[in-house]
């Protein structure tokens, strides 16, 4: 699958340069530390805002990752070379989404450890459910970020445009993810009504992945 080739190439470049990981990882850790020192939140406050804090940090850090994804193709006109090759535009966007997804997962893992230490939270009480939630939500953020990373790649203000466009679109995903994260961090049982949040996340992932594949040519070539 050519999308995997693109993802592997991007990860190889990232491992060598660490441009996105250093920027996004440092940003996430600094925000978590600053918040901890600024508000010194107690256990009750953490239970209320923990999920929100984490996911806002992830999406802000994600914007740094998404901006680099397609910008990496600009020097030497590599994007043109990819578009002329047998690689389909859909494979290119999916490949970028896969590499962005993996990089964001790394940033999330780093952030979770910092969160656990500085906020005295045992976040791994339900590790498998939390992992599944994180993977589903991170894919949704990554595919949306990659689509708009592609759309804005030739804009001068792309660093600003990606967050401005994706944050409003992420609202339904974020609401659902934050609700579920709070429940899992506080080890509360999931009721039948909570599965509505799961459905929202799954539908979000499916809709935006399908749109990315279907509109890839229009997004990248016009």
């Amino acid at each position: 699958m050519r999308a995997l080739l693109v993802a592997r190439k991007d990860l190889a470049v990232e491992l060598r340069t660490k441009e996105s990981l250093n920027a996004a990882g440092a940003f996430a850790v600094v925000i978590l530390l600053l918040f901890s020192f600024a508000f010194d939140p107690g256990p009750e406050m953490i239970h209320e805002i923990g999920g929100g804090l984490l996911w806002l940090v992830f999406v802000f850090a994600g914007a740094l990752v998404f901006n680099r994804g397609f910008a990496r193709e600009l020097p030497n006109d590599c994007l043109d070379t990819l578009l002329v090759s047998p690689l389909s535009a859909a494979d290119l966007i999916l490949g970028k989404a896969i590499s962005n997804f993996l990089l964001l997962v790394v940033v999330e893992l780093i952030s979770l450890f910092v969160f656990g230490i500085f906020y005295s939270v045992r976040w791994a009480v339900r590790p498998w459910e939390l992992a599944l939630l994180f993977l589903l939500a991170t894919w949704g953020i990554s595919i949306l970020g990659s689509v708009f990373g592609a759309l804005t790649v030739n804009l001068r203000l792309r660093e600003l445009m990606v967050p401005v466009i994706i944050y409003p679109l992420l609202i339904p995903l974020l609401i659902a993810t934050i609700e579920l994260t709070n429940l899992l961090l506080t080890n509360q049982p999931l009721t039948a009504s909570d599965f509505l949040w799961v459905k929202i996340i799954v539908v979000f992932d499916l809709v935006f992945t399908a749109l990315a594949v279907l509109l890839a040519d229009t997004i990248l070539v016009g």
Binding site: K9, D77, C78, D80, T81, L83, S85, V221, G222
Partner: protein, 227 residues
């Protein structure tokens, strides 16, 4: 002869400015068309449309009767199209796998040898000299033995060694039946290889036809006659 490239009545606008105006050009399979014209004439726009990199407002563009996006030509634009943070070998392997070259590793080693980059194969491209980058770009362009080659001013900024290398590659490609369209200001090198010429001016095709021996003797003839 089969028609390899067909542009029919193509209009391309950038805002209100018409970069291509009702441009029609056919290139037969196996021929080499030198696309001539002054800066801003529309040569790059034409090549980008043929490569499927640019949309157009009106007309038809096809490679072997199909959409340019499915033509998968060997394309060398103004950029060298390789990654600075990968080595020469990694770059070529990536593009070889992307283009589904049979036995990609062997093909990559063959091309590294061919463009004399074997000893620098594991160096990052960002450490390369300009000449090395250009030779790597040539290897990347010809790696998958494309049936169609679209080259935008390929001789520009090349050193003598790379000019010779490119000329040899173009002759070989033409001999194996590849169709070549190359835009250039280096008339002597291009006309020596070309079987046909097309002169573009202000987005219009002013002349198209076979390259004659008079053009070889006097490379500026075409400009004096038609522009």
């Amino acid at each position: 002869m089969t028609r390899a490239i067909e542009l029919a009545g193509v209009w391309k606008f950038f805002g209100d400015y018409a970069a291509l105006r009702d441009l029609t050009l056919n290139v037969e399979e196996g021929s080499c068309c030198a696309l001539l014209g002054r800066n801003g004439a529309g040569k790059t726009t034409l090549l980008r449309i043929l490569a499927g990199l640019s949309s157009f407002e009106k007309g038809k563009a096809q490679i072997f009767g199909d959409s340019p996006r499915k033509g998968w030509p060997g394309y060398l634009g103004h950029g060298i199209g390789v990654y600075e943070d990968l080595s020469a070998r990694e770059n070529l392997r990536f593009f070889a796998r992307l283009s589904e070259v049979a036995e990609p590793n062997q093909a990559v080693e063959k091309w590294l040898e061919r463009v004399d980059l074997k000893s620098a194969a594991d160096m990052l491209v960002r450490q390369f000299s300009r000449g090395m980058r250009q030779r790597l770009a040539l290897a990347r362009t010809f790696l998958h033995t494309p049936k169609v080659l679209l080259l935008d001013e390929p001789f520009t900024s090349l050193d003598d060694r790379a000019i010779t290398m490119l000329s040899e590659l173009l002759v070989e490609s033409r001999n194996r039946g590849a169709t070549i369209v190359l835009s250039t200001h280096q008339l002597r090198e291009a006309l020596a290889i070309a079987s046909h010429v097309a002169l573009v001016e202000n987005g219009r095709l002013r002349h198209t036809g076979e390259r004659t021996s008079e053009m070889l003797d006097d490379p500026g003839l075409l400009y004096r006659l038609y522009s």
